[in-house]
Structures are given as structure tokens and as C-alpha cells.
């Protein structure tokens, strides 16, 4: 199934955007304005949709005219493009969108044709599947690890570098004990939150172990 690569699902959604009688911009503009005001870091609504590695929303106004001798043509509707790369299966992911990011989903998709609302997650999932276009070729550099696994590994990597430097040259007895404590601390460390922090903390801060 070309929508999948390993354990990662590549979902592509094209949702037609409602146009007024005069083909006005109101709905497309509303989506753009709303998106421009949303946080994109750990406070992002998509951070709550568990399993989302990377995802984007794009208001696609039209196709592109590449120039003569190609013919010029235009779409009759604008489309909201939603491209996401996530862990697991499609149906549960769509349901999670409707339940964990309700307000975001509603604020965006209320401007789209055929949107059934977000109260019934299954209806929402069915609607999204109608908007799905199949991926023809999907590449994933790391295709067998979840978001959580990646984040834990990154947390471990930076903690380990600090550990190694701090304990360089120590006697084996001290080192072995310290390493055991390090392993324990990492095991107990709270799962890192997805999405980072736009206040750009340095790597020195918020270490799980000291």
C-alpha cells in the first residue's frame, strides 16, 4: 500500500473549500488567518494528535501554469491540502484528530465542502477518507519508530553526551555505579513532549538528570 512506508502512514487530504456565489475568498482567507495565529510548537493542536511526526496544511488556490506551449487551466475550487506523516492506522488517527484537536479541526474544516462536524468522530473520519488522495510513492528515512521513540532517543542522546563528559577518567567502580544511576534516571524520566519550544531553550536546560 503506497500510503505506507514501514510503520508510518502518509496521508494526503484534499478538501474542497467552500466558495461563495461570487467565488469569493472568504473561506480560504478565514482558514489562512486562523492558521497564522496557531502555535506550531508543543502547544500546537497537532501535538495532541498522538503519533504525528510532521504535518502541514496548505491552502492551494489553483494549479500552476508553467508557460507556453503548456495550456493554461484553472481549478474551479480552492483546496485545503493536509499532508501528515504519522504512526499507526488511518481510522484511529482521524478519530484522534476529531477528539484531541476538536477546536482546531473544526475551525479549519468548517470552511470545507461536506464537512460533517466534529461531534461524531466516525463521521469525520469517513468524510476525511472521501477527501483522501492516494500516495503514489512514499519515502520515509526512519520508518519503524514512533514519535515517542524518536523523542526518547533524542533525550537519551543529549543526556548521554553530558554523562560521558562529566564522568570521563573516573575510576571504574565510581563509573559503573554512576552509569547505573544514569540508566535508572533515564528510565524514570518523563516522556518528552512533542513539538519543541519556540522560546528556543539551550540544550543545557531542562535536563532530566543532573
Amino acid at each position: 500500500m503506497a500510503n505506507q512506508n514501514g510503520q508510518i502512514y502518509g496521508l494526503t487530504i484534499l478538501s474542497p473549500i467552500i466558495q461563495g456565489d461570487s467565488k469569493d475568498l472568504a473561506h480560504a482567507t478565514a482558514i489562512r488567518w486562523y492558521l497564522a495565529r496557531q502555535p506550531r510548537d508543543r502547544r500546537s493542536p497537532l501535538a495532541r494528535v498522538t503519533g504525528t511526526h510532521q504535518a502541514r496544511l496548505v491552502v492551494m488556490d489553483d494549479v500552476v501554469y508553467v508557460g507556453a506551449p503548456a495550456c493554461e487551466e484553472h481549478l474551479k475550487s480552492r483546496y485545503l491540502v493536509f499532508e501528515t506523516n504519522f504512526d499507526g492506522d488511518l481510522e484511529p488517527y482521524l478519530v484522534r484528530m476529531a477528539t484531541e484537536a476538536r477546536e482546531f479541526v473544526h475551525s479549519v474544516w468548517q470552511h470545507c465542502v461536506g464537512y460533517p462536524g466534529v461531534e461524531d468522530p466516525n463521521a469525520f473520519a469517513a468524510y476525511m477518507k472521501k477527501c483522501q488522495v492516494n500516495t503514489t510513492f512514499y519515502f520515509a528515512d526512519v520508518n519503524d519508530k514512533t514519535v515517542g521513540q524518536n523523542l526518547r532517543a533524542l533525550q537519551l542522546q543529549s543526556a548521554l553526551a553530558r554523562f560521558i563528559e562529566r564522568h570521563q577518567g573516573e575510576e571504574p567502580a565510581v563509573l559503573q555505579k554512576a552509569f547505573g544511576e544514569f540508566l535508572e534516571t533515564m528510565r524514570r524520566a518523563p516522556a518528552p513532549e512533542p513539538g519543541g519550544d519556540e522560546s528556543h531553550r539551550t540544550p543545557q536546560e531542562n535536563r532530566p538528570h543532573d
Partner: protein, 198 residues
């Protein structure tokens, strides 16, 4: 800069294809997928997290209601989405330098595609067919795909060493620790912010 989140850049590009060329493209994707040279080269270049090509046939745009006017298009469309690390120019320079054959096999079927070499007309074409992302979310913005892969290797090494580290004798531990260091040593780069886009 809405195309960028941390170290990742969300690029979108759409190109028109004459409908009778689409099956040829689908065939090439099938070959590329199964013979695996494109996937291997992309992994070796190591600056793309995820990328996909989506063929939207001219009657394939979702149509959900009578009130929505039906599309009436002559071309099929190839949409490309990439989540890559590095600057735009660097990304395209690299593709043009080492992946031109693969790129040509994919985009030759698109109208007015100039080829991946030389690189300047290629960049002009991409600029024309690229459209901007409105909202981009990245669950690990401070990590390039190299960082993710390095971290996963470190995780494996720690998990392995954790099995015995506390039960070894001091002499064996000393030796094993050095071996552990040798295993993780290429993968200890810090994560953080990306250089400014250029």
C-alpha cells in the same frame, strides 16, 4: 517563515502532466519502488525526513457536493511534498548533483520540465511550481533526520549495554564501557536550531 519549523522545510510543488504520460510515471514509480535505488540514494543523502509524490488524475480532485462545481481539467497533476533539512538551495544543488537520473525519471513527464542538470533552469522551474505552506508542525524540530538516526543508534547501544553493565566485574566493565563509547562516539552531536534560511 511558515515553510520552516525548526530544522525541517515543508516544500510543496505541483506540475501538470498530459494524461497519457501518467501511466508511464506510475510504471517508473513501481520500478523505483521495487528496485530500490531511489530509496537507497535518498537515505544516503540523509536530509529528508519524509517525502511523497501524489498523482491526482484530472478527475481525481475530491468532489463532495452538488453545490461544488465539478473540475474540468485537461492535465493530470503530480504533487510533491517534502520534509527536508537544510536550505532550499543546498537541497536542490544536492539533488541536481547526485540524483538527476531519478529526478528526471519522475519529472520528465511534467510539462516544461527542463531536466535536473544544469541546475539554474531546474531551480527556476521549481520556484515556479512551488507553493507555500500555511501551517507546519514538527514533533522534533531541533533534530534533523541525521540527528534522529544517530539518536536511535545511541538508544540501541544503551539498551544493549544496559543488559550487562551493572552485573559485570569492574575489569570487564571498564573494557565494556570503552567498547560502548566506541560504538556511540560518532552519534553524540548536539541538537538545536537550524542555521538561518538563505
Amino acid at each position: 517563515m511558515t515553510n520552516i519549523n525548526g530544522k525541517a522545510y515543508a516544500m510543496n510543488a505541483i506540475t501538470p502532466m498530459k494524461w497519457w504520460k501518467t501511466p508511464l510515471l506510475r510504471t517508473f514509480f513501481f520500478l523505483l519502488g521495487n528496485v530500490k535505488p531511489l530509496q537507497a540514494d535518498l537515505k544516503n543523502l540523509s536530509f529528508i525526513h519524509f517525502a511523497r509524490w501524489v498523482i491526482v488524475p484530472r478527475n481525481g480532485f475530491p468532489h463532495l457536493s452538488e453545490k461544488q462545481p465539478a473540475e474540468n481539467l485537461r492535465y493530470d497533476y503530480l504533487i510533491f511534498f517534502s520534509n527536508f533539512n537544510g536550505a532550499w538551495n543546498q537541497y536542490i544543488d544536492a539533488f541536481s548533483a547526485v540524483l538527476s537520473i531519478g529526478l528526471n525519471l519522475v519529472w520528465w513527464w511534467s510539462e516544461k520540465y527542463p531536466g535536473a542538470v544544469p541546475v539554474t533552469p531546474f531551480k527556476e522551474y521549481i520556484s515556479r511550481v512551488q507553493f507555500d505552506t500555511d501551517y507546519y508542525y514538527n514533533s522534533y524540530p531541533r533534530a534533523a533526520t541525521n540527528d534522529v538516526k544517530a539518536a536511535l543508534r545511541v538508544q540501541d547501544a544503551v539498551d544493549e549495554f544496559a543488559k550487562t553493565s551493572q552485573s559485570l566485574t569492574l575489569g570487564d566493565f571498564e573494557k565494556a564501557y570503552v567498547e560502548f563509547l566506541v560504538k556511540v562516539q560518532p552519534d553524540l552531536g548536539s541538537t538545536g536550531m537550524a542555521p538561518v534560511g538563505t
